[in-house]
């Protein structure tokens, strides 16, 4: 039986990488005494898969993983038992049961939205310009950035990956493509916006926070990954 677990990753946990976070949950599930299912063989591993890895330094309140259990407890009990094992920075928010043959969260992910906030060493004036410039950037037909990989550099048009981009109070809001089809990192959009406005980009000057991870429903609308299943009573 597969359940989907929604959790947050905040505070110091932003310095814990994706693989370490997976290992953290594997141990937490054991400590919580939950009846997790294992693969077969000499080195059995827990049947667990994560939705959309978060870059180091990014916080989130919309993270997901799927896990298989041999026996279940109620959603509330899942949440309570897991949270009793969490260290500061991770909180389990929801647990749902997926129907049989449900697709896993990783393959479902279609988009994520984010808040970007200025932190330190960044002039207020420049931040205001950035907020005001967001709309103009979105009017462009093409938004070209230089994407660097270990081996090569290439120019890429990221416009198709930006669904929404606007000032939300003093924060910059963005809804971006995520998942296997096309994945756009919020840092790249911030960098592109800075470039567009001729503001020097400094990664350490922004805090990125993921709000939610979405999938597409049958009508093609973006909905929460929790829509795949139901609460366990």
């Amino acid at each position: 039986m597969t359940v989907r677990i929604k959790y947050t990753k905040t505070g110091n946990f932003k310095f814990i990488g994706h693989l370490d976070l997976m290992r953290y949950f594997q141990k937490a599930v054991k400590r919580a005494g939950l009846d997790i299912a294992y693969s077969k063989g000499y080195s059995p591993h827990q049947m667990m898969s994560f939705a959309a890895p978060l870059a180091l330094g990014v916080t989130s309140e919309g993270e997901y993983f799927d896990a298989q259990f041999n026996t279940l407890v109620s959603s509330d009990e899942f949440v309570r038992r897991l949270n009793a094992q969490m260290t500061e920075g991770v909180e389990v928010r929801d647990v749902i049961l997926l129907p049989e043959k449900a697709k896993n969260s990783m393959s479902l992910v279609a988009a994520s939205d984010y808040h970007v906030t200025p932190v330190q060493g960044f002039l207020e004036e420049e931040w205001d310009r950035l907020l005001r410039g967001a709309g103009k950037l979105l009017e462009q037909e093409q938004i070209e950035i230089l994407r660097k990989t270990k081996k090569s550099e290439k120019v890429e048009d990221i416009r198709k990956g930006i669904y929404k981009l606007y000032a939300d109070g003093n924060q910059l809001y963005m809804l971006l493509a995520a998942g296997s089809e096309y994945n756009l990192k919020p840092e790249l959009v911030t960098e592109a916006l800075c470039g567009f406005l001729s503001i020097p980009y400094n990664r350490a000057a922004y805090q990125v926070h993921r709000l939610e991870t979405y999938m597409k429903n049958e009508e093609g609308a973006l909905v929460s990954l929790l829509e795949s299943g139901t609460k366990i009573q």
Binding site: N12, F15, K27, K30, Y42
Partner: protein, 624 residues
Amino acid sequence: MDMTKRALSDEILMQVEKPARYIGNEVNMVKKNPADVEIRFAMCFPDVYEIGMSHLGMQILYDQFNRREDTYCERVYSPWPDLDRIMREKNIPLFTLETQSPVMDFDFLGITLQYEMCYTNILQILALSGIPIWAKDRGNGVPFVFGGGPCSYNPEPIADFFDAFYIGEGEVSYDKVFDVYQAAKRENLDREEILYRFSKIPGIYIPSMYEVSYKEDGTIRAFFPKREGVPEKIQKQLVMNLDEAPYPVKPLVPYIRATQDRVTLEIMRGCIRGCRFCQAGMIYRPTRLKSVEVLKQYARDMVKSSGYEEISLSSLSSSDYQCLKELTAFLIEELGEKEGVNLSLPSLRIDAFSLDVMQRVQDIRKSSLTFAPEAGTQRLRDVINKGLTEEEILNGAMQAFHGGWNKVKFYFMLGLPTETEEDAEGIPALCEKVAEAYDHIPKEERTGRVSITASASFFVPKPFTPFQWAAMLDGDTYSDRAHHVKDVFRKQPKAKSMKFHYHESYVSVLEGVFARGDRKIANVIYDAYKSGCIFDAWTEFFDYEKWLAAFAKNGVSMDFYTTRERPVEEVLPWDFIDIGVTKQFLASEWEKAKQGVVTPNCRESCSGCGAAKFGGGVCYDRKN
């Protein structure tokens, strides 16, 4: 209290490799309010986080100290060179992981000394903390810097950097240290007087309270206390009932993968074998066991409190643990099959029992057999008192080959006392015999080609061993010998199935100096550190040229400490420590070594080493 407080900004943490090394807040971390305690203890492993977090001893003391309500013990590890640079640039003081507060605010800084090559890292820790590097320059209000662990059995090369050393197992006397400190604080005593009081606690050595004088040839003339009431000899402290000693049943669980990332179950301390090169085998005498019932309970509790899916046994020689069968059966059946916990095995002697256990817990195709004969010929194995015969190795290997194994690992040392060319050539000869033995396995039973990996390290004589008087080879002779062995390997008929690796000589030569050094070495360590030496245990940072320069600058000869055989009458720098095992016993073992005479292990018969004076352990077990 705000536990999200951090000593480092986001910007710095995002710049450095593995920021999780510096943020603390791991599962089972102890949280207290520093305002509520009277003693703040910063416990340090002077190497990178992943190494330090793997160390059982530190977890034991962390747990024990924090059981005291009046004490908060926090952790410190060496900042990796990337962060070291930033901290110096920005004047960020070294901080503890728990409350992220400066080490300078603490009452104690305790540094565990697990290997000699961490010595420059100690100076890094002191410098980044803002603590004067030389103990004599420290005034009131500066933390008391304590050292402990195996290297404190010869603390002399680093004695001038420490206020105190704790000789022996930490569980025994630290409560006394804290109680004495509390009382002294109430009386408002100054630093010197507090140290004087510490000096009267069993196991505590205060280097500044002793005077050393030297002869013209550089050896020690005399070593004596400067003040009335300071003991002449320091007694090693030992836990006599391991079942009653505290054990960290809620181990710290790091977020990033530590070198040892599993539940560690300590089953035994000490070793009955008496290999003559082995320091641990002497300083932890007598052998003491934990009862199997206690271990079962610990295993259950620790798996539950940590969530680890792997458990490993810790001891110097697990095959000598008498209830090993019962314990492994429990771990495999109760924790393995029911809870999915893997058992990772320490090196066991290869026999029918250990092969059976390995078969149950490992994938044979991937795992290999490990033998540690240490020397290539029976003659030399008798010299070092390593009770492992060629017949046992060949029998073990054959049984394993029949069971489906085809990979074998061998550990050897080069440069052992009395070693000849024939002994060195015995290494490839032994490997060849094992490789040829595989030919006797019927083709249908074979799982592939046999593969043999042998590695050799450079023998370093250690204090409190029968070889403490022995000459170490010089680096060039060792290298020549290692090259020669490699050549002989190439000429073996089964050369294609065998690989031979050997360690570089430079680090071992330095280790040899530090292991048996005296107080004259401190300036060398200081100058090497000042010239940029740090993380010397890491090949990528080790800089031999800088070390050579530091020795030259101080006019200190390495050979005096390494290649010189000491007469048995010589006063050794560590003679003031009493480990229970007597100098007479070690000397008679040294003599027997030269004659190639073996000494039976502690269960076969008592050889009267002196450790019986502790009144327990294997010395008093009824023979069965």
